[in-house]
Amino acid sequence: MIKNIKNIMTVLLVTIAGVVFGQIPSAETGTFALTNATIETITKGTIQNGTVVITDGKIAEVGSSVSIPQGAKTIDCSGMTIYPGMIDGGTQVGLIEVSSDPRTRDNNEIGDVIPHIQALTAVNPSSVIHPVTRVNGVTTVLTMPSGGLFPGTAALINLHGYTPDQMYAGFKGAVLNFPATGRRGRWDRRSDEDIKKAAEKALKQLNEVWTKAVQFHKIDSASGGKDQPYYPEMEALLPVVRGEMKLLVNVNSANDIKAAIKWIEENGVDAVLCGASEGWRVADEIAKAGIPVITGPVLSNPTRDYDRYDRPYANAGALQKAGVKVAIRTNEVENARNLPYHAGFAAAYGMGKEEALKAVTIVPAEIFGVSDKYGSIEKGKVANLFVTTGDPFETKTQVKYVFIEGWNIPMTSRHTQLYEEYLNRAPGVEK
């Protein structure tokens, strides 16, 4: 009895300390049973009044008649729906904390051809942004370096863990910023001539780098990898040349997409088109090439002043209808939490709810080659899931529980903590 009181006191003290210092409480692991829920498995339909059992970080059982193991912590999910954790197919989460402050930006290293630069290295596990993102049901994000032609290697991370390795979700891809022939923004005041020259130069450089990488692969294969000089950028491109690693190709305007497809096909690269904001213009070409697309932000302005106002909303749906495998990304940092709203707009403007939901769950998992672990609620998969009061895209829907690799994530973030503290501020006007 006394021991119990002591335990209770300890828990209380820890909780109070957490509140006072604004810390996020630790997640909890163990065996959980989420009962009486509607389960949107994504790959195997909807289960009414079902149970999900989580053990050892995995989904141990899913179904309507599942026996609950002894000692499992049961969470009654009556009236609620379980979805697989959402995957944002393109962000800079973990690499940037406060985007205006260069001291907190680790996304953009010096150098034009630096595929060996690893995003995972600079993922800050303590970023305040992780809890803010995951309590909205986004459990997993691709975090990408940015900059020159080959700015580095992106990594898929789960938004829980104390080291980058604990967060790593099993996919890495080299990034290529495909040479752009358009203007990059209103601020881009280069002459037409300069733009053309810059694009030609970049394409020439790309081909040179690629030729070198192919050569490096030949020498490496011939020598069995022995006595190769230290050449980290070429080493990083080796798996891409050999088709063992995906190339994430950032490309947006229609002409550039066509050029990228041509380049990808000529070089036999296993590629993904990222961004593809003008994908709708060349949807059939992309479909024909069979290259998957990660598009977004959906919530954005038309790329050209004369385009119909809703093209960005309708892009994902247009691609999907043309037969392209489409995932949705936010391309965000602090507001990657809005992934469900990007998907929701895509759903409303032609993609439909079901496909949009796939575009933030199973489709990105497939594109990243991790669909054996992520993207749906199936027995044996990693227990990344969230529980809501309804449609996860609807703005007012509340997320009640989030699990990442079986850890029961506290539904706390800087945003909820400030709400708790300031809703009824004490003292008020008078102290």
């Binding site: 507001n335 707009f345 909820t416 809703l423």
Partner: protein
């Protein structure tokens, strides 16, 4: 005789132009979200010559009025954005910490296709603001999105109160202190710049008052004080003729400006962005200051690192008149969705959430007697949605300004530019996201690191 013909022709032209700016339209059988008077099912809204003449059932259209069948759709007041930089050719006069003499109304751009994109998001009015480079920036202009009119004069919401932009924190200290080596470099300096400006304006006002009182006296030998547009504008703030709209983030600087305003007897004050407004919500409520916030933008600079998406809800629950703004050509396209975020973050009711983008911004701009709700006698600014505007599946279908349909999803062509540039050769593809706030537009040259 010829003259009469000419006058007649001229009159006809004038009538035609007038008819284009103010229209009559009957919106039939919609779910009418009045905002101030609840939700009315299966109800008609009649707009006559630009004004809402009747809200009721079974109304019939006067001759010449267009009829819109809104069966199954939602009819709400046109959305109002209290913070925008659309329709402007110039945003920042970043040459001095105090530039009260300039006015964005001199740089209106009715050809901005962004106006149409905003209309396609149900927005009918906006506060076209000066930027945030200066502690006391330029005067702003409340505009109506009468897209299609090419005369800048027709963008103005005639009769709307005058407003002026102020700015605290990182932007003015970065531009002037770090950039030009002059005050303000700190939040202390910002206070001094504002206080000393008001003090000068007070003295200027007094000098003119003294002169005006004595000038008709034959024995008076003095001269009129030198006219100064900057001081004249500041004096108009002190006189209560101009509403301050102040770019601000941190609680301390928000509190500071309230103290300064109290000391100078200024009552008309709205804070913009005001990310930490939730921390001083009781003080804002007591002062009667408004708060115009982002739904969830944060962490893009250090002064918004300690933010919460629950800001709008905390402010509303503390009794602060709160609006949600865009400050962006992108967010303005879906302010209805931004408003809905206050339901996720803080559980506001439908009417509370809709108020954030209608009647509340109207109050903050001093135009709530004319727009911001669906009431008889108000101006005919209406947005019609498929699905409830607070749903993620909401689709704006028609937007009406002064009774004129300015956006019609089913019938508008894709290319809505008014003035294409024949010189443009390369396909322009804008794919890099805009800076987080457009407030610093035209100051990029000042920084190597944005």
């Amino acid at each position: 005789m010829k003259k009469i013909h000419l006058i007649f022709a001229l009159l006809l032209t004038i009538t035609f132009v007038m008819a284009q700016e103010k229209g009559s339209v009957l919106i039939k059988s919609g779910t009418v979200l009045t905002v101030t008077n609840g939700t009315l099912e299966d109800t008609d809204v009649l707009i006559r010559d630009g004004k809402i003449s009747k809200i009721g059932k079974g109304l019939s259209a006067p001759s010449g009025a267009k009829t819109i069948d809104a069966t199954g759709m939602f009819v709400m007041p046109g959305i109002i954005d209290a913070h925008s930089h659309l329709a402007l050719d110039a945003v920042n006069e970043a040459t001095n910490p105090v530039t009260a003499e300039v006015w964005v109304g001199d740089a209106l751009d009715p050809l901005d296709v962004g106006i149409y994109q905003a209309l396609a998001g149900g927005v009918t009015s906006a506060h076209a603001m000066h930027g945030s480079a200066n502690a006391i920036g330029g005067q702003c202009e409340t505009v109506k999105f009468r897209y299609g009119e090419i005369d800048p004069e027709k963008m103005r919401m005639a009769g709307a109160p005058r407003t002026i932009k102020f700015a605290l924190g990182e932007n003015p200290t970065r531009v002037h202190g770090s950039g030009n080596g002059i005050q303000p470099r700190t939040r202390m300096g910002v206070e001094h710049v504002i206080r000393s400006s008001f003090q000068k304006a007070k003295e200027y006002m007094k000098a003119w008052d003294t002169y005006n009182a004595k000038k008709n006296d034959k024995r008076f030998k003095g001269k009129a004080p030198a006219y100064d547009l900057r001081l004249e504008t500041l004096a108009d703030i002190l006189r209560g003729n101009i509403i301050i709209h102040c770019h601000s983030y941190r609680a301390d600087e928000i509190y500071m400006l309230m103290q300064v305003c109290k000391d100078f007897g200024i009552e008309r004050l709205v804070f913009q962005h005001v990310n930490e407004g939730f921390k001083v919500a009781p003080e804002l409520a007591k002062f009667g200051a408004g708060a115009s916030v982002f739904a969830d933008w944060w962490a893009y600079k250090f002064e918004v690192y300690y933010s919460t998406a629950y800001n709008a809800a905390i402010l509303t629950k503390n009794g602060v008149t709160t609006s949600i703004n865009s400050d962006s050509g992108e967010l303005i396209r879906h302010l209805y969705h931004e408003a809905a975020k206050s339901q996720k973050y803080g559980g506001l009711s439908d009417d509370e959430a809709l108020s954030l983008i209608t009647i509340n911004p109207a109050k903050q701009l001093g135009i709530a007697d004319r727009v911001g709700s669906l009431e008889e006698g108000k101006e005919g600014d209406v947005a019609i949605f498929k699905n409830h505007p607070l749903s993620i599946y909401a689709i704006p279908m028609l937007t009406v300004v002064d009774g004129v349909v300015r956006f019609d999803r089913e019938n508008d062509p894709a290319d809505m530019r008014l003035y294409p540039d024949p010189e443009e050769k390369i396909d322009v593809t804008f794919w890099e996201a805009e800076d987080h706030d457009r407030c610093m537009a035209n100051t990029e040259f000042l920084f190597t690191d944005k």
